[in-house]
Structure formats: structure tokens, C-alpha cells
Amino acid sequence: MVKKEPESETPLLDELEKGPWPSFVEDIKNAAKKSPMSRDLLRQLELSYKEKIGHWKHGGIVGVTGYGGGVIGRYSDRPDLFPEVTNFHTMRVNMPTGWFYTTERLRKVCDIWEKFGSGLTNFHGSTGDIILLGTTTDNLQKTFDALSDAGFDLGGSGSALRTPSACIGMARCEWACFDTLQMCYDMTMKYQSELHRPMWPYKFKFKFSGCGNDCVAAIARADLSFIGRWRDEIQINKDAVKEYAASGLNIRADVAALCPKKCIDWDDVRKELTIHSEDCTCCMHCINVMPKALRPGKDRGCALLIGGKAPILKGAQLSSVLIPFLEEEKLQPPYEFVCDLIEKIWDWWDENGKMRERVGELIERVGMRVFLREMGLKPVPQMVYEPRSNPYFFWWPEEIGLEITKDEEEDETNE
């Protein structure tokens, strides 16, 4: 037999160093050179690859002084084999809004993590935080102190407000109908305590997208989604339209025919585009295809949607319309209307929600009508794709001039 290279500790993971896409295995190995933690992480991961099973358990709550969250405690279930990751907790660091960095600030984070952690990170976590991936219980406070000194703070975890995020918006995008970044930042600052000290039935997420393209996927993931819209007409630059036509864009097929409301007329002779704005749903398609010719209207603001979340427990929900339009004024400091509403929602949810019940699930359980009434909001058709088709609806006692007896010892399992 021909003599082989010294055998790798991680033959399976090594396979993932091959191929053109950047390899996380390369990075773990890289970190492992300096960090024994990362080396044991690598070895434990190899075991998972071999056994096709994870090797982490959750355990006692860990954290930093004064906060109830921001750290995900994790413990190896094979500390015998991988002692360096006996405890290996992740810290969530609130990213700068819009994920903007100067190299100077970014290097600071790296230095801190080199000193106190595994040297591994996620840029970023899927909520948006900087994820500092793995350190010991002892080092948590130290890391936090160093981060704080460098001007960083932790993000959310547990039954708290989660780190809000926003699309790049006005920083670079011509379509932003409100200032997503500023509002996201302001809300983050205003609700620092809610972010750091879990005290609700479950988690709560805000996301801000400047237009219907929803580049931060708010509608799918946020309990409150702010999605930019306008109320007047799409702005049309007629010359630019003609240029698009001249340059070969098939405006009839690629723009008009794909408008979901078929509210665009295209005159192929005059090369003129007319939009019946009263039918336009601000879907963004036509603007997306012709960015030089079409722009959102001037009366801008956002729609507020509520209830987005992943499947656990009663099935996934997309956010649904709560307020069709918040005017620009309401989306600027001091955000009085918005904050009042947010706090009202939190109070109601806090009081009525079961443990691990997101606000959308609570609304589903007790009925939108109850929620709207509590919030003092008016029902409008924009809230629904269509009205109910079942005849199982309720009347308020005062509508039928009756007192309704409530069964206090209600068994909840039936709901």
C-alpha cells in the first residue's frame, strides 16, 4: 500500500472544504488554530456528521448582569470527548441598523471575540444580530463589558422584544416610502428594556421594509411588520418610459400584463403608459421593472401588519393588515401614535396571552374583533382578503340588548 497523508481528524467535514462556494469548515479550522474551543467544536461536529445527530443540549440559564437575554446557553452532551465545549454559549449582539460597519468598529468586535470567545461568528443571525458563536459561562460577562465599552450592546432572546431590523431603505434605495433605518433605530433605543429583559408570554419581533418588496422579509417573520406604501399616484416619467420602450423592454408583456390588478394601460403606438391608480395595490412590480421611469407616489407612509411567525405552535402565520396606512408624520419622532399602539398591544397580549403564545396566535384564539375593540381600531376591508363565509359570528351584548353570562371556570383545552 502507498503511504497516506497523516489521517485527518475530520474526514467527513473535509469533504466540505471542496467546491467553489466559501467553506465554513475552512473557517472553523482557521479558528481552531487559535481556539481550543473551536477545535472541540470542529471535532464534535465531525461526530455529528458521523452519527447524523446533534450533540448539544440546553441547560441552566446563563447571561450577563442586569439582562435576562442576549445569550443562548448551550452544553455539549459529550463533555467527556469535547471538554472545551462543555459550555459553549452564543451571544447575540445588536447589529448596527442596516448592517452598516466601518472597519474600525468591526475589527473591535473581532478583537474582543478573539480574546473572550471561540473566534467564530455568524454575520449575521437570521433575526439580524451579530452572532458570537460560543464561549464559556465565565467569559460572558467579560465579553459583554468589552462590547459595551466598544459601543455595542446585546440583542434579544427569550420572551422579549427581539432585535428589530430594517431594509436598507433611504440609505441606498430610491423606493423607501419611510425612513426604515431611523425608525428601526429609534424603536430599538426606546425599547431597550423590553429587548433585554424578557417578561412577556413569548418573543415579539418588529421589522421595517420601505416598500412592498419587503427586503427584510417582515411579513413572514415579524409580529409587527411596517411595510412602505403610498396613497396617491405612481410618479411617471414619460420620457423615461419611451426610452425603456426604445431600448427593447416589452412593456405590454413584462409590465402591464403582470400587474396583478391589470390597471396599467400601454399604448404601443404613442408609447404611453397610463396607470389607473385607484386600482393599484402598490405591489411594486411595474416600478421594479422600470426604475428610471416609475416611482412610488408622493403621499408616502406604511401599512402596519400584525402576527407574522413561524409554525410553532398552531401553524405559521403571515402578518395581516392592521392599519392600511400610517402617514409619514406618524413615522417620525416621537412616534406617539405608533408607540401608544405598540404598548397597548403589548399590555393586552401580556395580560391575555398564554405562555409561548405569540400575539398573532392570541388574536386568532380570542378573535380579531376582540383585539380590535381593545385597541380601539376600526375594522376595514383591507384587513381581509374576503369576508367570512361561515355564519358563526358573534354579537356584542349591547348590540342585542342582552347581558351575556360568562362561564368563569372555562376549560381551555377545547379552544
Binding site: 395581516s320 374583533r369 354579537w395
Partner: protein, 353 residues
Amino acid sequence: MSKTDIGPPYFKELVPPIIAKNYGDWDYHEIVQPGVLKHVSKSGDELYSVRVGGARLISIDRVREYCDIADKYCDGYLRFTSRHNVEFLLSDKSKLQPLLDDLKERKYPVGGTGHSITSIVHTQGWVHCHTPATDASGVVKAVMDELIDYFTSMTLPNQVRIALACCLNMCGAVHCSDIAILGIHRVPPKVDHERLPKICEIPTTIASCPTYAIKPDPKRKSVKINEEKCMYCGNCYTVCPALPILNTDNDGISIWVGGKVANARGNPRFSKLVIPYLPNTPPRWPETVEAVKNIVEVYAKNARKYERVGEWIDRIGWERFFKLTGIEFTDKHIDDFFPGRATFRTSAQFTYT
């Protein structure tokens, strides 16, 4: 004792000869004029069907009058349609005009074909049922008096199927009608604790409630109702007469639109709530008549050719529908019967109108 299980008369013995001859061999049809269909077979034979509207609740003398007409013009053949119109079947074209003249004289409305409003499918109401929240025949009569011109013409964008059911049991295809008139109760049943133990089976009664509002009341060997959870469907009353739900002041009518059954173009679909409550105002239910008429007129004015009511609303959106009809949108329109969330608008797409 007479024979049982003989089943209905065999239809082939009851069809006119022209149908027996051309059975399965029809080639095409035309609507000659409102209420008059002409079916042409591959053999060239022509069958004329003249459709007449009526009160479904009729006396035997009325039936005999139909028979007289059929004897005179149709060699004694007639049929009824799936929506309870009468159809006089003629193979002799020369008798068509005389028949039409005769019908006119009798003030029988001829129509219900094509893009019209045909007869309202309906139910028993106060005439014969025990759970009604409104009457059936009376409301239908009042509405049809108002809409009769749509029966005898074909000027609508497409057919508009109206149905009425006097309670949530929905005897008829009310739940899938262009416009549905539905009787609703609005107060929970009152438990008659004295009769209940004697005449009702408790587990069945409890199981009859869609929202689990009924619980056993072991002390009284009866049941109790959590009124907050009751949405007055009346199903418990159907299974247990000791839970009366009929109510003079609070029963009434709700209006639903946009349902359909045919697969043509858009899929079959349920009707959706548009007016949660209109009072019971016998004998002529003016609020209900007005509401239905308004919807028909707004549809007639705004829909495109071939659009059924629901397809029209699909295109314009419900927000526009409420605006055009001037109907108020309320919290009752938002589905909160599990799994109502499917109807929530999980999209930032809508218009402000």
C-alpha cells in the same frame, strides 16, 4: 299494505317523444328570448322549452293549472328545473307563441334563462319548520316582486343566483350563491331545565355545539351554556327541543354574496358575509328587498360581461365592493371561527378606495 321500495317512476316513461328520440343526441341550443330555450338535435329536431317562474309553495289547483297548460300546448309533457321553475316542453313550434300569449294572460312570468335572475331557491320558514329565524316564502315573494324585470330579461353581466335559507342549516345552496339571504338568530338558547332531562340526550346535546359552549350541569341533570361562546347557530335546538332559540326581537336576516357553483371560469366558492343583520320586517321585509336590489344594481352597473358576482369582486377587490355598495364593514366580517385566519389579508396589496 302497499308495495315499498318501488322507487320513483322511470323518467324515460315521462319524457316527451322528442326527448326519447333524441336522448343524448342534442347538438346545440339557443336562447330564443328570455325564458325560451331552443335545443336542436343532430337529427335536426327542435325542442322548445318555456320556463315559467312561480311560488314554489303552491296548491294542487295550481299544479292542475300547469297540467292544463301542458295538455293544451305540450301534449301533456312538462318538467320542473333544479331551481323549481316549470318548463313547458314543446316539439311543435307553432304552439310556442300561443303558449306564450296564454302565459302572459295568466300573468305567469316567463324567463329565468341566460343572464337573468332566475327563481330564488328557498326553504320552509315559518310555514313548516321549527328552527327558522325568518320566513322563506314571504321574503322571496317580496324580493322577486322587486326583481321580476331581471327574471324576464337577460341584461345582467351573467346569471345571478339568489337563494334563501331560514336558518344556519342552510337547506339549499345558500352557502354558494351569488346572493344569499340567510335567517340568523342572535341570542343564545335559553335552557328549559325542566324539560331537558326528560326529552334530550345530554352527550348528544353537548356534542352538537360547534364552539363547545355547552357543558353538562350534573346537579340539574341538564346542561348549561357559556353564552359568551355561543354564536346562536341553533344546532343544539335541532337536537334538543328544550333549548329554544327563536326570538321575536333579535332574529333576522343576513346577506352574503359572491358564491357560485359552476366551474365556469372561476372555481366554485362560498358566499361571503356582507350584511350581518337586517331586521325581520314582515310582511314585506323592505330592508332586505332594498339590500338585495342595491347589490344587484351595483353589480349590473360595474361588472364586466360574463363576470359572476364573485368574479367581479375578485377583480375589483372587497374594499371596492364595500365602497360601491355603501355597505358598512364591521368586525363581524372578519372571520374568527377557527380557522378564520385563512381569510386575513396577509399581504400589503390592497387599494384605499
